[in-house]
Symmetry: C2
Subunit: 484 residues, 2 copies
Amino acid sequence: PEPFPPPPAGYPFPPYGGSYQPSQGSDDDWDDDWDDSSTVADEPGALGSSYPDYEAAGGGASGRYRLSTRSEPSLGPRGSSATVSRNLNRFSTFVKSGGEAFVLGEASGFVKDGDKLCVVLGPRGPEWQENPYPFQCSIEDPTKQTKFKGMKSYIAYKLVPSHTGQQVHRRYKHFDWLYGRLAEKFPVISVPHLPEKQATGRFEEDFISKRRKGLAWWMDHMCSHPVLAQCDAFQHFLTCPSTDEKAWKQGKRKAEKDEMVGANFFLTISVPTGPGASLDLQEVESQVDGFKAFTKKMDESALQLNHTANEFARKQVTGFKKEYQKVGHSFKCLSQAFELDQQAFSAGLNQAIAFTAEAYDAIGDLFADQPRQDLDPVMDLLALYQGHLANFPDIIHVQKGALTKVKESKRHVEEGKMELQKAEGIQERCNIISFATLAEINHFHKIRVRDFKSQMQHFLQQQILFFQKVTQKLEEALHKYDSV
Amino acid sequence: PEPFPPPPAGYPFPPYGGSYQPSQGSDDDWDDDWDDSSTVADEPGALGSSYPDYEAAGGGASGRYRLSTRSEPSLGPRGSSATVSRNLNRFSTFVKSGGEAFVLGEASGFVKDGDKLCVVLGPRGPEWQENPYPFQCSIEDPTKQTKFKGMKSYIAYKLVPSHTGQQVHRRYKHFDWLYGRLAEKFPVISVPHLPEKQATGRFEEDFISKRRKGLAWWMDHMCSHPVLAQCDAFQHFLTCPSTDEKAWKQGKRKAEKDEMVGANFFLTISVPTGPGASLDLQEVESQVDGFKAFTKKMDESALQLNHTANEFARKQVTGFKKEYQKVGHSFKCLSQAFELDQQAFSAGLNQAIAFTAEAYDAIGDLFADQPRQDLDPVMDLLALYQGHLANFPDIIHVQKGALTKVKESKRHVEEGKMELQKAEGIQERCNIISFATLAEINHFHKIRVRDFKSQMQHFLQQQILFFQKVTQKLEEALHKYDSV
């Protein structure tokens, strides 16, 4: 068995927000209780700036699993296993996620029909069964609210899920509570990260607007995911009336007591059966390795694009604006000099040059306003995907841990140390984890192509609109010379 | 009488060329003899970067008169004048231009009919009589030629004047010889400066192209000026066949022996006569002072605009290009990462992002190429006008010197130190200088409005074309996403 070292200390977590004015720190909104206790946890929105090194310790061990720092994962009852060694390193994602316990057949629980999750075989391989009742949910109107007679202030967002049409109000801490439940429950599903917290200025308009957009992106990814969209805790979050505190607490407690988390979660997964439905171990390994390489490269390029976009935005707000406005200022000075010539035939030119000066001043402002329209959304998207990319090392690690157990068990059977039936059970359960992992990978590619297509289109459309506005300003200025 | 101090030593002459890659130094083309000797002179194209301080020594004395450093001006015979003091400061522009000698009635010469120059009264005051046979002259095809069996190389430009249609070839040194004659001959006419010389790289394509454009601007201003366009030396330059070396030398010698230069030049000027045709001294003074203030402010704003245009061009060639190409590079990296996903449904997006990357790379190049189209011509124009603005202090100085003589003579008459008739002669001749000065000022305003109108239009048209090209690149990229 491979050693599973703890995650590297001092792992860098610089902000990776969709804004060229970096912000970081913790949100004291967080500590403000709405009803019962909230746990102190790491920042769900603080995303890694460099990709975790998959290769450390051979089998890929350095994963930082989000839920592992949040609360202890609920593991199935640990039975004893005399023949297959149990990895006791308490930092192993494979262990903490419950993956190991499940593969070794130690998970047990009663799976209700409603809890069943199906992986089906689509044209591109395993896929999560589609949500038969797809919905969306808008997040609008962030408003400042107070309680304790104004002693405490917070921002509440209006959520309107399309499948109920009933608006509810939720705070960031509710999103965060939900995130914690989901990250704990689903070991091989990439739960989208929430937008980052901020220490200061959390009632400032820019921050609120940015957070609302971040939450809307988050919500879109939640609703797009067949498993996440249908899970009880999320539905409770979307539908429980904001005014019914009792119902909220009940649903909250139910979610926190959910037994089908971690190892037991795997019990709820149904995979295709029958001839041709069993996955080839080597092929799965190769697919997962390919995806590992993909996420590593995508993470690097997303990081670079984010950096470039940030710099480009900053240049437009500062340098580009300044250059165009300096041109405007120089034209202004020229027209003022020309105005010293008071002859009538010179007046038209003076006015036209003065107008040109204003046009260049306005173009400078257009440059400064533009990043908000095009680069900021790109950076918002990148931040969301950086969150997913930070999740996948752990997901892959669970799958690889399961594969390793299968290989081990085969060797043990050959050596006569394990019964064939037990080994077959291990392989069967590993098959379930592989199906789930591949379904999750497929889902990621699907939403990635969808999101990047629409975001690139939006970016280009906004850039085109911008250059058209600039052109229009210049055309207006040019026409002023017609009558000179 | 006011003291006329010499021009300030160490007067700054930084390059003010229409290029953001400053060049300076002397042109050894200059010293390369084509036929007879050429005089070593200051650089006609090196223009002052800050305006001469008109206010020094009260009456405006610091003028640097181009022709004064070129060769000794041809003065009329110096008679003795017992009563009106002669300013003996040898650096005085008023003296060196021949203005003083003329005003004091010391100039004499036979004015042929063909030499007569008329100032007429137009709607805007005194004007040079229009050239009845206006023409233009193209300057094209700069070609490298050699002589002395290839020992000497030089660039010859093809000139085609519209009134003859006969092409001639001229070298920069011929332009420069002509400039010297004209600057000496016309004390109150602003002879356009030639484009600056350059020490190195004078056979490089960029430099030749830039010089050709500068010479074309110069030629345009020559042809636009009623007096300069018609003068013999210029006509000889435009029409003498390049192959007829003898005719060239004859015309050259004739121009160099021209007696109607400096003080005698004023003899050739006819001004309006009859009732209402005499100028009010105070009004002339106020008009000239107004123009003085105008040129000072225009010089400052032209200097600033040139600096801004230079910086703006530099930023587009370096920073702007770099920023857009960094965006292109980051998109390229993203598409390369995405290409690791080999699924068919992802291929369209990958190609579209790769195409977008190329579009941003191309936009970076467009930014770098743009200053050549729009900012360079603006800077060429500014350079030409900076030359004019550097001429006017001397022109104004001559006029002011004449005015001072009139005031002096009036006082002398009151004091019984001068005969009335002599004073009237002085006033009459001052009137001629004032008419000529005002005609020149009017001409300046006329071509200024014409040139700046057309240059601003050209600039804006080129900027519009540029932003349209950028928009088109982005639209092409956007369409690539249609089929994704």
